[in-house]
């Protein structure tokens, strides 16, 4: 490392978080190149481990949907995956302790009312204590208590809490009177590369920050009307016409979609070079939108960790090869 410190080509990657909500994060990654940004994106999509239902044992299913159908739907329910860090991949783990790899979940609902009943993610019965922060549970989980065989509790949460009032649970299927469903599921740790149900994100995307420079001299040759037309030529509010200064200003550069409409307009007006738009090749505007399995910042951090381990591994492998070559060279 000490050698790299002095390297003038050494870059200093930097992350500045612009906006963060419960399920999205927007940050700017600077001081690196496309390959790293894309590697981060790819890892977020495909290699950040989460937990999802993987095995389903059907004990009773008299609903109108067939077993595989329901199993597929169960698999796609995002589960809160803080515990994923403490768990092992089932294909890596050689031990006998199932609790390290598996999280048992049950689904037991019978419809007794005359009305069609919805079976939702709230009806999933998680073994153990679901109140704890890091426990595996469906997103926006408010247990209905119906799974315990309590016929009176029809979908309403057992504890009567109204948390996440606007967050609807995920519908799994609907039951008619006397239809019953009883399934034993096993949730496991996995990565998005194996199945999309383990993807922690809905979207993970970056774009280059545009660098917009207005050729003020050329702009000055435009009439007022033309200036407004120019501002309007871009489908997104990239430019703004300032009434006071009577000048065109750059408004929201990040909203530019690289559609080239304003450039085309300038070209058609016979004013090429009116504006110069260039993608900054070392600045990336990232948007990561979580499915709810993990907080968005965790996803990014986990992705960096995965990236780090990968590099570590490559490095150690390289070292081995290098030492082998050295010894071979001695001989």
């Amino acid at each position: 490392m000490s050698k790299a410190d002095g390297d003038p080509r050494q870059r200093r990657p930097n992350i500045v978080v612009q906006e963060m909500t419960e399920d999205t994060i927007k940050f700017v990654l600077t001081g690196t190149d496309t390959s790293i940004a894309n590697a981060l994106r790819r890892v977020i999509i495909a290699e950040v481990p989460t937990i999802a239902i993987d095995l389903v044992e059907v004990i009773e299913n008299s609903s109108c949907l067939c077993d595989e159908f329901i199993a597929h739907r169960l698999g796609l329910i995002p589960l809160v995956s803080h515990k994923a860090a403490d768990m092992e991949f089932p294909y890596d783990y050689a031990g006998d302790d199932e609790t390290v790899t598996d999280v048992p979940i049950e689904l037991r609902v019978k419809c007794v009312s005359d009305q069609t009943e919805d079976v939702t993610s709230n009806d999933l019965l998680i073994n153990g204590d679901y109140t704890q922060y890091d426990t595996v549970k469906p997103v926006h989980y408010r247990p209905s208590g119906r799974a315990f065989g309590d016929a009176t509790a029809s979908g309403a949460p057992a504890d009567g809490s109204q948390a996440d009032g606007d967050k609807h649970p995920i519908l799994i299927l609907k039951l008619r009177k006397n239809q019953e469903i009883n399934m034993r599921c096993v949730a496991r740790k996995g990565v998005g590369r194996d199945h999309a149900k383990w993807q922690p994100v809905a979207t993970a995307v970056y774009r280059f920050e545009p660098e917009i420079t207005i050729n003020e001299d050329l702009m000055a040759t435009l009439t007022e009307e033309e200036k407004i037309k120019f501002v309007e030529s871009s489908p997104t509010p990239v430019f703004r016409y300032n009434d006071q200064t009577r000048k065109v200003e750059v408004n929201m550069p990040e909203s530019y979609t690289y559609d080239g409409e304003c450039l085309k307009w300038a070209e058609d007006m016979g004013k090429p070079g009116l504006v110069d738009i260039r993608a900054k090749e070392d600045t990336f505007l990232f948007t990561v939108e979580s499915t709810g399995a993990l907080p968005p910042e965790t996803i990014v951090l986990n992705a960096l960790k995965v990236l780090d381990t990968k590099l570590e591994m490559t490095k150690s492998e390289l070292d081995i090869v290098k030492s082998e070559m050295d010894t071979a060279g001695v001989e």
Partner: protein
């Protein structure tokens, strides 16, 4: 006139003060769009609501069971059964009715539902009862039914679903659901022995009409196919060397037309000439025929009849004259009853027939002078469609006649005996199965055999294809032509301009039946027969002078016209234009049936009320003004009016193809001129059901729409709302079917938005990976994970429990304890010996543990309680593809109405798309999945959108499916503003409006996005056209097709590898491949492929005689049987097929000898 009332100034009439209206109004309003009727489209759902999608079938069947059936039993030939031996005996049918669908089980009559019939392999049929009056001994007995009770049942007639007797008619959606029926199912088919059968619409040339055509010698001829209830015959009048002849099957030779006319009592040449037409041109053309007749020295009717009598065909003579009659009588009978059979000859008064012949001659002569008068056989006005009702009527009458003949025979036999033990009661002799089996068998086999017309047709019915909702619907509108498929004429296959609006221009199969199989357009209706008598008297009231009151000359007086009713000549009218318009007025006022058509040509007025004409509704325009006003449409929208109100109010009328030729139809309201008589309701209705699915079809190259029509029928999706309660042999269902974002009006009308067959996939048009050449598509693996293109295949397996003649029967037994291992073949059996629902099933597994008795022939003392050892196992084992994990979905146990016990198992397999599965958009753009790519490798847009599917842009230039591009744009815009978009033909949302939506939401107007490569992360150099397109998954999947083998079974006879995937066959090295190897000179490879790998055989050949010997396995020595010597035999290798050939030749007394030389 109404339009010009206010100003009292008529346009076109010059008036000094007259200033056109448009110059007096405010110029601003001039630019306002012309006011058009909003919601003219609303008439369509109203129309389809009263009509349904398959009204033509149902109407035709209703006509049969309500009216035609009554006419059949009332016909002279059928009405009464008499007896040769007892003149007092008779059985008279006074009435007939079709009851409610029911079945008799254990002597209890129960109502049945169609769903029950499908599941239990029964026939959905209703009893036919007759009211009779007959003699029993000396008394006269009557048996009439009242309110469906009483009467004599003569059999059961299969019922068409949703016909007037079907229990489904008039039921609400909930009631239908309770009966297990899908509310979107159109009906119009039959359920026979559990299978759904459709009687396809048959296209034929009109009956009883004069058709002028040119024969292969270039001569003009007139032909008429006469059809009455009793007889069908074809009569030709041909020209030969300028002379006219009558040609008919019953005569050995052509008969000079003048002789024929004289035989029919028209002895005066002058009268003939007058009837044909007073024109000198006609007379001179007729002259050679007149001369020929006089040359034959035939001047009187008697002479002519003798001449004709001498030409009657022997076979015909045998048929028509049982007791000896003179030739003259015979000839007269044939001319009266067989030649031009449809023209009545009351009491041998040939007047009408003479005029008819004269008109035929006139038309021939006219065509000789003016070749444009030759009829076009492909013109759709000359075509009639035969529907289920008419076809069944033929069959019913045939069966009924057979029943009557049967009764007569029995009556003859019994009544001829002088003293009988009991009184003869004819009712007890009625056998119900003559009718029941006759109809049931015809519908289930599709073979229509009607003896009296010598009709033998195959493939009249087809199994209703339930592959998708559209395929079932498309089948109901299908029309097949009687034309031979092998004939290489393009005429009948070509799209005829007269088919406009009646038949779908897109929906026809490719290949041999292209253009011969057609489909009805959305609004087309096919007429049923209408009473002729009231029309006849009405015509006379309106001033038609009856034929019998006119002399020949008066037939063709200038300005007048001959009036025809269904091909019969009614008489002459002096003012044909007025007659036609009066007639139409009466029709619009509802005084005449709405399907009666009137059309005029020069000198002729044709009234048609016969069944099988295609027609469609149009809005009536009078004096350049549409009669329908916005008020009426508002009333329709509010539900106060129905489509029928529009009909009875005279706003809408049905026009058939012929009458369309007398009208001037505007396509759009803006095109109405004072001459316009009608306006189209909606232009997109010219397409059929299948083509109606396509968005923006008017932007596509025409064959693409045709391709989509064929592919829409193979798309997987929802079949019906009751799909999970069905037990079809093969069913393909989509796991997550969607509504298309870009809809059409047709889609809403037919319910495709409720039973879709596809998914909205985000498509990026770009090349990617090279696995997308030749229309292959690249798919996103994450999308597949999430359920895109996932489908369920359900296949039925089952068996019947047979009962044998010695009162033994098959049985199903639980598996023995030894058999119930966790890995055994019997592992999935339940305690009842049938596979448990939800169990995984793999090839070789037993799903019904059936046993059959060892002895099924000899009588046994106690057949019900035989020891276990008596039974041998005949278990049903599953034979699916290896490695496929299927699940038992459903098990059903039923008995059919014949007491047959059935076990049906449904096996389910859920599949996700894999490389090689076939997909298609709605624009005839099919392609297989070329590769499946990780989501992280796929390109992504600025917004993080990743395509589900990548399509290669090379698919566009040569296919010219611009509609697909607009669909993509529409889909993208639809997603943004959360609305479904319309891609209706000749309308729909415009590209401009779609682009506006896109721009509003920050997209590029052209639907292109900047995308980044998923692998490198760099932005792609080109903007990518991306958006949702509705994709269909087609039924062709690799899993059902892939096949390879190294070693495997061989055919017993030739010892060569078997053929075909089903038999695990070998892959053939064909002739062309062989040719390549020969050309290359790879002799050893040919030897290996063609012999060693196939049917190598070591044969022993005698060098002495050259015949095959054999190896004695006991001694190990070779022997030649011919030479009785072992020393001369040598072994050689040859294909077994070759050895077989030698032996087969020997068996035919040909002796092949092999001459061997040292190798």
């Amino acid at each position: 006139m109404r339009a010009f009332d206010k100003g009292e100034i008529k346009p076109g009439v010059h008036h000094p003060d007259w200033v056109p209206d448009c110059l007096q109004v405010d110029p601003a309003t001039l630019n306002a769009p012309i006011k058009t009727l909003k919601d003219k489209f609303e008439l369509l759902p109203a129309f389809l609501k009263v009509r349904g999608l398959v009204r033509q079938h149902i109407d035709s069947f209703n006509y049969l069971i309500n009216e035609e059936i009554k006419k059949i039993i009332a016909a002279k030939a059928n009405e009464k059964v008499t007896c040769d031996t007892d003149p007092n005996f008779y059985l008279k049918y006074t009435n007939i009715q079709v009851g409610k669908p029911s079945v008799e089980e254990d002597f209890i009559v129960e109502e049945i539902t169609p769903q029950q019939c499908r599941l239990r392999d029964m026939t959905y049929a209703a009893p036919v009862t007759v009211d009779v009056e007959y003699t029993r001994g000396k008394e006269i007995v009557t048996n009439t039914s009242k309110n469906g009770v009483g009467g004599v049942t003569i059999g059961r007639i299969p019922l068409m679903l949703r016909s007037s007797r079907c229990i489904l008619t008039g039921k609400s959606e909930e009631e239908l659901a309770r009966l297990g029926e899908c509310p979107l199912d159109p009906g119009g088919y039959f359920v026979v022995k559990g299978t759904e059968k459709v009687i396809l619409i048959q296209e034929q040339l009109s009956k009883n009409r004069i058709i002028i055509d040119i024969d292969n010698k270039g001569e003009v001829g007139a032909s008429v196919t006469s059809s009455t209830h009793e007889r069908k015959s074809k009569t030709n009048i041909v020209v030969k060397h300028g002379k006219l002849y009558l040609r008919h099957n019953t005569f050995t030779d052509e008969i000079p037309i003048m002789v024929a006319l004289k035989a029919m009592g028209c002895e005066s040449d002058q009268e003939v000439v007058q009837m044909v037409g007073p024109d000198t041109a006609y007379a001179s053309l007729l002259l050679p025929s007149l001369l020929e007749c006089s040359a034959l020295a035939i001047f009187t009717q008697q002479q002519a009849l003798e001449y004709c009598g001498g030409k009657v065909r022997m076979a015909t003579r045998m048929m028509y004259s049982r007791n000896k009659r003179s030739k003259v009588d015979e000839a007269r009978d044939i001319l009266a009853g067989v030649v031009l059979a449809h023209v009545p000859v009351p009491a041998y008064d040939f007047r009408q027939k003479c005029v008819y012949v004269a008109i035929m001659i006139r038309r021939i002569l006219h065509a000789m002078v003016d070749p444009t008068q030759v009829d076009d056989k492909d013109y759709y006005g000359n075509k009639r469609l035969e529907l289920a009702g008419q076809l069944l009527a033929l069959l019913f009458e045939d069966c009924f006649k057979r029943l009557n003949a049967d009764l007569k025979r029995q009556a003859d036999a019994v009544l001829s005996k002088s003293n009988r033990a009991t009184q003869f009661d004819i009712i007890k002799c009625i056998r119900q199965d003559t009718l029941s089996n006759g109809l049931e068998h015809a519908i289930s086999s599709g073979n229509w055999t009607v003896k009296r017309f010598r009709m033998e047709r195959k493939g009249v019915t087809q199994v209703l294809s339930r592959l998708s909702f559209i395929s079932a619907l498309g089948m109901m509108t299908r029309i097949t032509s009687q034309f031979e498929k092998t004939r290489k004429v393009s005429g009948p296959r070509a799209l005829q301009p007269s088919q406009w609006g009646m038949l779908c221009p897109s929906d026809t199969p490719e290949g041999e039946s292209c253009g011969l199989v057609k489909n009805l357009a959305l609004m087309t209706h096919v007429t049923t027969d209408d009473e002729e008598e009231p029309l006849r008297s009405l015509a006379h009231v309106l001033g038609v002078e009856p034929l019998l009151l006119l002399v020949g000359q008066e037939l063709h007086s200038p300005g007048s016209a001959l009036v025809f009713l269904n091909g019969h000549i009614l008489g002459v009218h002096q003012d044909p234009a007025r007659f036609a318009s009066d007639f139409r007025l009466l029709r619009r006022r509802g005084r005449v049936g709405e399907f009666v058509s009137v059309h005029t040509t020069t000198g002729n007025v044709y009234i048609a009320s016969d069944g099988g004409r295609v027609c469609r509704p149009l809005l009536i325009v009078e004096n350049g003004e549409l009669l329908v006003k916005q008020v009426h449409l508002d009333a329709l929208k509010a539900g106060r009016w129905t489509f029928n109100d529009f009909l009875t109010q005279g706003f809408v009328e049905y026009l058939d193809v012929n009458e369309e030729n007398n009208s001037y139809i505007a396509l759009y309201e803006s095109e109405i001129t004072p001459e316009t008589t009608h306006l189209e309701i909606e232009p997109f209705t010219l397409l059929g059901v299948c083509a109606g699915i396509i968005p923006y079809p008017h932007h596509n190259q025409s064959p693409r729409n045709t391709y989509q029509c064929a592919m829409g029928k193979q798309a997987m999706g929802n079949i019906a709302f009751n799909q999970l309660n069905r037990m079809d042999t093969l069913m393909y269902l989509l796991v997550y079917p969607q509504k298309p974002i870009v809809k059409t009006k047709t889609i809403e009308l037919i319910g495709y938005d409720r039973l879709g067959a596809g998914q909205n996939a985000t498509v990026a048009v770009m090349s990617y990976s090279g696995y997308d050449i030749e229309d292959a598509i690249v798919m996103n693996r994450a999308s597949l994970d999430r359920g895109f293109g996932r489908c369920i295949v359900l296949r039925k397996y089952g068996c019947t429990i047979k009962k044998y003649s010695n009162r033994t029967q098959d049985r199903i037994v639980p598996p023995t304890p030894a058999q119930t291992g966790p890995n055994g073949r019997h592992r999935l059996l339940d305690k009842d010996g049938i596979a448990a629902v939800g169990e995984k099933i793999s090839p070789g597994d037993v799903y019904i543990n059936k046993q059959s008795p060892g002895n099924t022939r000899d009588p046994l003392p106690n057949p019900q309680a035989m020891p276990d050892s008596f039974y041998r196992p005949t278990a049903q084992s599953y034979k699916g593809p290896q490695g496929e994990s299927c699940v038992v979905d459903k098990v059903m146990l039923t008995t059919s109405d014949e007491g047959q016990f059935n076990v049906k198992c449904l096996v389910r397999h859920t599949r996700r798309p894999e490389v090689g599965d076939k997909f298609s958009s709605r624009h005839g753009q099919k392609g297989v999945c070329g590769t499946i790519v990780e989501q992280s490798d796929l390109p992504f847009s600025e917004r993080g959108i990743c395509p589900d599917l990548i399509m290669n842009p090379h698919g566009f230039p040569s296919r010219m499916t611009v509609g697909k591009m607009i669909e993509l744009l529409g889909g993208k815009a639809g997603l943004q503003d959360g609305k479904f978009k319309y891609g209706t033909a000749f309308g729909g949302d415009t590209v401009t409006s779609l682009s506006e939506v896109l721009v509003e939401h920050g997209f590029s107007y052209n639907g292109k996005d900047l995308m980044h490569c998923g692998i490198t992360g760099e932005p792609l150099v080109a903007y990518i056209f991306m958006g949702p397109v509705y994709y269909q998954k087609l039924k062709h999947m690799v899993l059902d097709k892939m096949h390879a083998r190294a070693r495997g079974p061989r055919v017993v006879l030739t010892r060569q590898p078997t053929e075909g995937r089903a038999r695990d066959g070998g892959l053939r090295l064909g002739e062309m491949e062989r040719d390549c190897l020969i050309g290359y000179g790879a002799a050893m490879l040919i030897l290996e492929r063609l012999m060693i790998s196939s049917d190598q055989f070591e044969a022993q050949v005698c060098t002495n005689c050259g015949l095959l010997g054999y190896k004695h396995h006991g001694t190990g020595r070779n022997l030649c049987q011919q030479c009785a010597d072992g020393g001369t035999v040598s072994a050689l290798k040859l294909p077994y097929a070759c050895k077989l050939l030698f032996q087969e030749l020997q068996s035919m007394n040909i002796c092949p000898r092999l001459t061997l030389s040292d190798a």
